[in-house]
Amino acid sequence: MKWIWEGIQQAFQLIVYGNPEVFQITLLSLKISGLATFLSLLVGLPLGTLMAFGKFPTRKFWVSLINTGMALPPVVVGLTVSIFLWRSGPLGDLRWMYTPTAIIIAQFIISVPVVTGLTTSTLQQLDPRLSYQLMGLGASRIQSVILLWREARLPLLAALMAGFGSVISEVGASMMVGGNLKGETRVLTTAIVLENSKGNFGFAIALSLILLGLAYMVNLFLTIAQQRTTSSD
């Protein structure tokens, strides 16, 4: 059991002395997952708003589809993206397979339903008369939507964080479409899998601690925002 303690010690040394590889992997993970989440926000926020307030016949069908998408298995996404980006696939000419772009696409597909679904449910929880009240004061549709987003800013932030959480911690899709190439597509989760299989537990624990730290910071940020709102009541 000594090796477990040695692994933890090694992990702390790697983090404290700023190991360049650990730093590079962490930065790449943040870049890829951050960009994927940002893109899912650009799509998910308006789409979720449309699902919440739109009046069209197939709305319920689309909402249920999005809700199903919230539990989309990352390996299925990885497989689908791989098929499309494979050299002989429909988008093979783009040469995106085993690049950060491929991981961003896969993570975007994973986080879009999360951001969209949570945006929908958040906005549906607002008082439906608020929208009429704003329009009754002269708001255009866009002005009204922006104010409704502002009213729901905290749960919407939570939706965004949930989207980020779902992609920073996934491994299946990143492994399949990124290939875990050192210095190019190796992110925290794929690196942990690799180092674990090599028996390099110190490195794996170091990366796991960073991943846990990121998850904690996301939650801390949310809690602070929540407490600030609550304390102003």
């Binding site: 008082d127 008369r129 608020l130 009429y132 009240q133 704003l134 329009m135 009754g136 004061l137 002269g138 708001a139 255009s140 002005q143 104010l147 502002r150 009213e151 102003s232 009541d233």
Partner: protein, 368 residues
């Protein structure tokens, strides 16, 4: 007064159900039109339709003489304001909330500041300006909502039961302040309420809506004393509705008789016409004995007290005069007269306070 808003032959269908069918309604500049009706009558739907927040299924709405088309709706809504039953304030400061409507209209910050100061002062909420909306009481929130609506300088103010969610003291104070502001500013207002007293107190005209249809529009006293039909009569608080037949009519004084009674009513009605005699409870005077001298009251009916129902400072007395007759007197009078169930009394009322309405089996119409 010029007509500022007019709707012709409008219908509104929601969830495959026709909730509104209004032949004609108009609001004159500077007036307060109170729309009253029972729950589910279509009051709020009418307000939403006239404010274009819910597009009408059929019909046309005109603002200042011009038809409001789909492309004109935003422009129109930037000339109106709205206050709903709940304040529905934004999660920000009172100051920001009051300026909301003005910001939608693209006013500059100095105009907004000036207007916020003026209306917060008018509604006695200047001390709340820096507070968050969530820190306000119900009464304060509704004052902010009213200030927000008025600060936008609307040509028409739409009020959807703005006082009904408040506790009694807050409600009385806000109604009083609103009445003062209304008399000073003469903002054209459409007020939707289910409260008859509110409509009587605030309305220049009153519209009664039942089952999605406007059944009567007129001055409050006219609507309350001369209801257009039985349902309106029941809604405006007429408890005594007696069927009878006109026996004679001399110099505009009709004699109506029914099952064991005969009353005189000021009305021009042909002899033989089947009618309902409509009596408001507050128009009936109760006496223990037949008055000794002459009285101007043309009608005196003997009855037995069936029930006494306390109603705040008043007492509702239900008499059996061969038909149920309801009188509303003060509690003090009830105590002084020592009223108890089973006691015999006389109910008197003037011929001019009763109102006749043709029965359904006849052609329904009012008689002046």
């Amino acid at each position: 007064m010029a007509t500022i808003l007019k709707a012709e032959k409008i219908t509104l269908v929601r969830n495959q159900k026709k909730v509104l069918s209004v032949e004609h309604i108009s609001i004159e500049e500077g007036e307060l039109l109170a729309v009253i009706g029972p729950n589910g009558a279509g009051k709020s739907s009418l307000l939403m339709a006239l404010s274009t927040l819910l597009p009408v299924t059929e019909g046309t709405i005109f603002f200042e003489g011009k038809q409001i088309r789909k492309s004109d709706r935003l422009k129109f809504r930037r000339q109106i304001s709205m206050v709903m039953q709940d304040a529905l304030l934004l999660d920000t400061t009172v100051r920001e909330n009051i300026g909301t409507g003005m910001r939608f209209r693209g006013k500059n910050e100095s105009e907004i500041k000036q207007s916020v100061k003026y209306w917060s002062d008018q509604l006695n909420i200047e001390q709340l300006l820096s507070r968050k909306s969530r820190q306000l009481s119900g009464g304060e929130s509704q004052r902010v909502s009213l200030a927000r609506a008025l600060a936008a300088d609307p040509k028409i103010l739409f009020l959807d039961e703005p006082f009904s969610a408040l506790d009694a003291p807050s409600r009385v104070r806000l109604i009083s302040d609103f009445q003062r502001l209304q008399s000073e500013n003469k903002v054209t207002t459409l007020l939707v309420t289910h409260d008859l007293d509110e409509a009587l107190l605030l309305g220049d005209r009153v519209a009664i809506i039942i089952a999605g249809r406007i059944r009567q529009i007129g001055r409050p006293d006219q609507v309350f004393t001369q209801p257009a039909d039985l349902e309106v009569a029941q809604f405006v608080g007429v408890d005594t509705i007696i069927p009878g037949v006109v026996q004679s009519n001399t110099h505009g004084l009709a004699v109506v008789s029914g099952d064991g009674f005969q009353v005189e009513v000021v009305a021009e009605v042909p002899v033989g016409r089947k009618v309902f005699v409509i009596l408001r409870p507050e128009d009936i005077t109760l006496v223990q004995q037949i008055p000794a001298g002459k009285t101007s009251s043309r009608n005196l009916l003997k009855g037995e007290i069936k029930e006494l129902i306390p109603q705040g400072p008043l007492m509702r007395v239900i008499l059996d005069c061969g038909f149920p007759l309801v009188a509303l007197i003060t509690r003090s009078s009830a105590i002084e007269m020592d009223l108890t169930a089973g006691m015999l009394l006389y109910a008197s009322f003037k011929a001019s306070t009763a109102h006749l309405l043709a029965r359904k089996d006849e052609k329904e119409q009012q008689f002046a």
